[in-house]
Each structure stands twice: as structure tokens, then as C-alpha cells.
């Protein structure tokens, strides 16, 4: 068994950007090996949880897009982040796990080129396309379909946050000055080719092995042409 200390070390080595808070934190399960054997892909249902919301976004090349343009042709793993996030079990966890998913998908014949990763910033003020491109260098493999997105303003961001139920609040100091940090729920969404949310992962649940298992489950469903999510009804 690899120790928590090892994973702290690994984390710090991988992401010096976020190392400040790493030592004292209780690491989320996603940083370590899965403590159980996950259910076999395709043996369980992932009932639809509603339609993935659309919105106006900008990619890291500065190109305006509708989020829906990136939903529907592939299985999508979409996580909300902001690049200044210092909470080891927040955005860094999302990016860490998505990087592992990226690697796992690349080695999986059934999933390779079937999956798109999306990291969508909820800090349009700081996370410019340039900032996201720099951030992406820590995570995105060459040739990988991992989109780093931001929005033009709070006004265009808010409908997206509301659509996904993504809570985020800016933190202010004693003088009422914005500290640059935000409290938020970590949420990563699994979206199928019909643009439906099929799973939601938060800190206690987000792990690359289970995410890849869920991706395989949706791929098996697509290959079989079945309507998943109805099994248990």
C-alpha cells in the first residue's frame, strides 16, 4: 500500500503550483489507489441527471464558443476550476484526476478518441485564455482533447454556474477586499453523447479508476444502442 505521505510527495512533485496547502490537508481518495474493486463496467446503470447546460465560453486560444459545441460528439468529463485555487482537495484534485483519466483513456482502445476533457474556469477575471494556456501546460498531453475554457465576464459565467448547480463564492478579507480565493464545491460532470449529465463526482467520490469505469459503461451502452439509466426504474 502506498502511503499518504507518498501521495503528498507525488502531488507536490507534480503540481508545485499548488504545493502550499498540501502538507497539512487530509488528502482526498482520488490521490491514492482505489480502496475497493469497482463494479464491472457495463454492469450498472448511470441514470440521466438532466441536460448539461449550455453557455458562452472562450477557449484557451481565445476563440468564442457555445459550450454545446463541445458536448454531443464525445463522452465528456467537465470540471469547474480556477487556476489560483490553492485547496489541494479542490481544483487541483480535479485536474490531477483528469490528467490520470487522460492517460487511462489514451491506453484504452475502446475509449481512445471517444472522450473529451473540459476544464471550465469560474474566475473570468484572472483566468484569461493566456492564463489557461499556461495552466494547461501542466496537464494536457500533446494531441489530447482537453479543452480549457473561460468566459468573457461574470455575466456570461453565472448562467453556466446556475445551470450546473455549481456553487462558488468569493472570499473577502476583514476589510472587505477580495482575496483572490473562492470557496466552492468541487464538482466534475460526466456527460454522454446526448448531452445528458450521467454522473457527478465530488471530492469524496472523484477517482480516475471509477471515472474511467463510468466512461466505459457509457461506451458499452452506446455500442449496444441501449437506453441506459432505465434498468432500475
Amino acid at each position: 500500500m502506498i502511503s499518504v505521505r507518498h501521495w503528498v510527495g507525488l502531488y507536490v512533485a507534480l503540481f508545485p503550483l499548488f504545493a502550499a496547502s498540501a502538507v497539512e490537508a487530509v488528502l482526498a481518495p482520488g490521490y491514492g489507489p482505489l480502496q475497493y474493486t469497482p463494479p464491472t463496467a457495463g454492469s450498472y446503470a448511470l441514470p440521466p441527471l438532466g441536460v448539461a447546460a449550455d453557455g458562452q465560453v472562450i477557449n484557451d486560444a481565445g476563440k468564442p464558443l457555445q459550450l454545446n459545441e463541445l458536448l454531443g460528439d464525445k463522452l465528456v468529463l467537465l470540471g469547474f476550476i480556477y487556476t489560483r485555487c490553492s485547496d489541494i482537495n479542490g481544483c487541483p484534485l480535479a485536474s490531477y484526476v483528469m490528467k490520470k483519466v487522460q492517460a487511462g483513456v489514451a491506453k484504452d482502445d475502446a475509449l481512445n478518441r471517444q472522450v473529451r476533457l473540459i476544464s471550465l474556469s469560474f474566475d473570468p477575471e484572472s483566468d484569461t485564455p493566456d492564463a489557461l494556456r499556461d495552466y494547461a501546460m501542466h496537464f494536457r498531453r500533446r494531441g489530447s482533447d482537453w479543452q480549457f475554457l473561460t468566459t468573457a465576464s461574470e455575466a456570461t459565467l453565472q448562467p453556466i454556474l446556475e445551470g450546473y448547480g455549481q456553487v462558488r463564492q468569493k472570499n473577502f478579507d476583514e476589510n472587505g477586499e477580495y482575496t483572490g480565493s473562492m470557496s466552492h464545491i468541487l464538482r466534475v460532470f460526466l456527460v454522454d453523447r446526448q448531452g445528458r449529465i450521467r454522473n457527478i463526482y465530488s471530492t469524496g467520490f472523484l477517482h480516475a479508476d471509477t471515472v474511467i469505469n463510468d466512461l466505459r459503461t457509457l461506451q458499452i451502452e452506446a455500442d449496444a444502442g441501449s437506453v441506459s439509466g432505465e434498468k432500475a426504474k
Binding site: 497539512e24 490537508a25 487530509v26 482526498a28 481518495p29 480502496q35 475497493y36 469497482p38 463494479p39 454492469s43 450498472y44 446503470a45 441514470p47 440521466p48 441527471l49 438532466g50 485547496d87 482537495n89 479542490g90 484534485l93 448547480g165 456553487v167 463564492q169 468569493k170 472570499n171 473577502f172 472587505g176 470557496s183 466552492h184 464545491i185 468541487l186 464538482r187 449529465i197 457527478i200 463526482y201 465530488s202 471530492t203 469524496g204 467520490f205 471509477t210 439509466g229 432500475a232 426504474k233
Partner: protein, 435 residues
Amino acid sequence: MRWILLFTLFVTSAGFADETCMSPYMAKIQGQEDFVYVWTLGVDGVGDEQDKLVTVDVNPKSPNYGKVVSSLSVGGRNEAHHTGLSDDRRYLWASSLDTSKIFIFDIHSDPAKPTLHKEIADFVAVTGGVVGPHTSYALPGRMMITGLSNNRDHGGRTALVEYTNAGDYIVTHWMPTDDNLQGAVKSGEFADGFGYDVRALPRKNIMVTSSFTGWNNYMMNLGALMSDPEAMKAFGNTAVVWDLHARQPKKILDVPGAPLELRCAWGENHDYCFTTTALTSKIWLIFEDDKGEWQAEAVGDIGDATKIPLPVDISIFADDSLLWVNTWNDGMTRLYDISDPHQAKQIYSKKIGEQVNMVSQSWDGKRVYYTSSLLANWDKQAPAGPDLQYLKVYDFDGSELQEKLSIDFLAAKLGAPHQMRFGAYALYGDKTASR
């Protein structure tokens, strides 16, 4: 100064009950809570006679300390029972055992004055016949709701139901029974299909459910029920261990005598949960053994079972060392040393009132909250006075409970108080409320 434990900010996996029943990843009120939200049954002849969400200011530094600062009636009586916080802690889901309505309250816009955000009135129809929504247990972006009954015979066979945080129905998972084990291993005598509470250990991919009784029994007068031998046979005798991710039952464990509340341990390697049995008056441990098998074991007695003390709510300490156990019939709260989870030992007891049901403690264990009501048709009607239907708040110094606050819910014309949840301004970044 208020402290909120935000080592993972608001990142969550599950949230429930008092502060020590939350997920390790949910924002918790580590210090002083500002409010307690009390889901309260309407009582005939008391106030407006309606079920209501009562908000009490419990911050000693507040000028409103000890006062009811909000009372939100929902119209009629529904057998108000349990409540649960959404994973983002912005909404409080309050369920009703008789009408099967679920009321979703907004507690974040103004924590001092909740509002009714949504009412789910078609629970039975959309779930395929599940009756009596009980526990609302937060999972990422959704709620897992336990049922107590069904609309075919109003007995105890029931299901788990999932809703999105927005209040949209997702799916129903019926409990495994003898005639449909759904792949689960029946490890003992029973596979009754009954339900009550639910808890999860995400790191082990385990979900555990317990079992009570159906609408026929919980809506019956308690005296009539106790004198009806056939009805007394219709109580749950099982706990079910589920594959959390797949939502598939794995193993049905015999836990005879109506296992009710489930509380799982906090420690990183503490792979176990506690429950207590209402009819047999025992503490049970549901645990993973050395071989990775989930087992159930009776680990302690609660009072004199022949006197039917009726264990009800329990509350585990944040360090897994102690467990509060309430016994409704004698109005006692009992503290057990569970540092050896296989040998629970009672180390303290105190009479709280004529009847006591729910117990909630602050994260540090220094404040313990009690309410009295169990079920409308089971609650005691006498002796009248401040110890019959109440909210009481105690300080706990590690050895003794000292009463700090008491509200007589009948005298205040509120009703019969049931489940409590804590609220705090700081959860929502409200600087102005920092005192």
C-alpha cells in the same frame, strides 16, 4: 469569532444529521452554530396546527439567542419527520411520512429566515409506489431518499429513491427481498425488504441501509400497535450493505428488532457503522472484518430491554470515541464508550424529558441538542409541562451535561419538534453576520 472547517472548502461527498454525521469532505460548522432548524409536527389544538420549520437562534453572542426567529408553516399536517441538507448545504429537504410530501427549504439566502423553495407532492406516483420518505442523504449533486413503506399494502417493503438537487426524480431502487434478492447474499434468516436510514462510506464504496416498519404501523396508535401481535411482527430485522457506486445490494445482514439510525465512523481506517435496535434494545456494529466481509454484531445493551426503553436517535463523536444513544420511552440520553467498537460500554446517562428522540451535537462535542417527538400517534400526551415537547440545548464538558437553553414547543404554540439541523452565516460567506 466563528470557525468553519473548510480544509476542503465546500467540496463534499455526503452530508447528514448533526455535524459529526457529515462527510469528511463537507463544509462543517466547526465552531459555534448560529441556528438550529427544527422540523416540527403540527399538533391538534396547538398554534396553527400545521407542520412547520422552526428556526432558533442558538449563538450565545446573538441578541436573539434562544429565540424562535422564524416559523414557516407548510400547510396542514403531513407527519413531519426527518430532514437532510443538500451537498452544497444550501437547501434543507424535509420529508413527511404520512402524505409523502417533501418540502425543500432555501436556508442560504437568509439563514435566519428559511423560505420554501419547492414542494414535491407526487413522490408516491413518480417513484412507482414508494411511501413515507424518511432520510434525505446527500450524494454529489443529488439526494438519496429512503422510503418506509409502499402503496400496495402499506407494509414495510420499500425502496431507496434518488432525486437531483433540483428536486427532479431520477430512479428507484427497491430493497432486496426473499423473492428478489437482486444479487445480494442473504447471510441470515431475513430478507424483509424494509427500509429506514442510509449512510455511505465512499472510500469503501459501501452504502448501508437499516429497516423499521410500514405506514400501517407507524401511523397506528402506539398502544394499539403494542397490543397487536401481528402488527408487532411487521418490523424490520435487517441491514443491507450496498455497492454504493452501482447501487446494487451486496449483502443482507440480520439485525433483529428494527435497526434505526445509522452512524458511520470518521477514522481513516474505521470501516464500520453503528445502529441501535428499537425493539431489542441493543447497539449493533456493522463492520468490515479482516477478510473484507461485511458483518453485523451486537456490541452493547441499552437499558433493560424488558422495559422497552426504545432506543431512537444516536450521535457519534468526531473522534469515534463516544456515542450518544437516546431512549425515547424513559426520556434518557446515554453515553457509550465505543473506543473498542466491538464492546460499547455505557459510561453516563441523564434524563432529558418525559420522552426524548433526536440528538445532534456540535463538531467539537461541546453542545448537545435534544428534541422530544417521535411520531404523532406515538408521542406521549402527559404529563403536561416543559418536558413533554421541547428543544433543549446542553453544554457537555466531557463528563456532565449542563442545560443551557430550553424551549417548550407546546407553550410556544409551535407543535412537536423532531429533527434538527445546524446553520451558520459563515457557510455562505456572509461577513456581516460575523459576531
